[in-house]
Symmetry: C2
């Protein structure tokens, strides 16, 4: 189920995180389903439990899973996962707008740029500096 490449440039715990994110995203792991325990998964892939724990901790901090001490780790409700991702993405989006404004890019250009990007238009070779 879970595997990793010890020779990868990517740290093991990240490889594990990536796989769980996919499994959760594809609903292979369903909301409130229990994940393998830290030790169980650790021994099945022959790695230190702490590395698994680190992966789980990261997944929890991103709201993919929630943990109940003494019981186990569980997949978060669907809405939780999505809304957490979206709110992070929205925050980045807002920040990028503020950045543009700070650089003197006019509102109309920002709106235009938004529409172009949504349409998938790549060529926007217009004057970006003047409003």
């Amino acid at each position: 189920m879970i595997h990793f490449d010890p020779n990868s440039v990517k740290p093991i715990y990240e490889q594990i995180v990536d796989q769980f994110i996919k499994l959760i995203g594809n609903q292979v792991l369903k909301p409130d389903e229990q994940l393998p325990s830290v030790r169980e998964l650790a021994s099945s892939v022959r790695i230190n439990p702490n590395t698994i724990q680190r992966a789980y901790k990261l997944l929890e901090s991103r709201n993919y899973i929630y943990s109940v001490p003494g019981k186990g780790n569980f997949v978060s409700p669907n809405q939780t996962v999505l809304s957490a991702e979206i709110s992070r993405a929205e925050k980045r989006f807002k920040n990028s707008i503020l950045e543009l404004k700070k650089l003197g890019v006019g509102n109309s250009h920002i709106v235009e740029l938004t529409h172009m990007t949504l349409k998938g238009v790549e060529n926007h070779a217009k004057n970006t500096i003047l409003e």
Copy 2:
């Protein structure tokens, strides 16, 4: 003119980069003006020339300055600096839109979010500037 704190968490070359960005942004250093040479600045702040070179290299990669081997480092033309910054910001902006789309956020919501954010900026400005 240039200074740094060796005990800062921020690496020295970054501290130097930050200062030059400000000086260039404020037009204290004007387009095509020559920067102190790597060795000159290094000895004046008592640091290794290579650290200064690294700062200059970074400034060059971001188009704040351009270098002419054998001659020196010079402030880039104004438009170059601005447009480079803007194009980087635009790229981040576009990526953040694509991220939102990937998460299933609808176009109309993205447009709305854009307007809200732009509005928020204006409101803030109006509150701080007496009108």
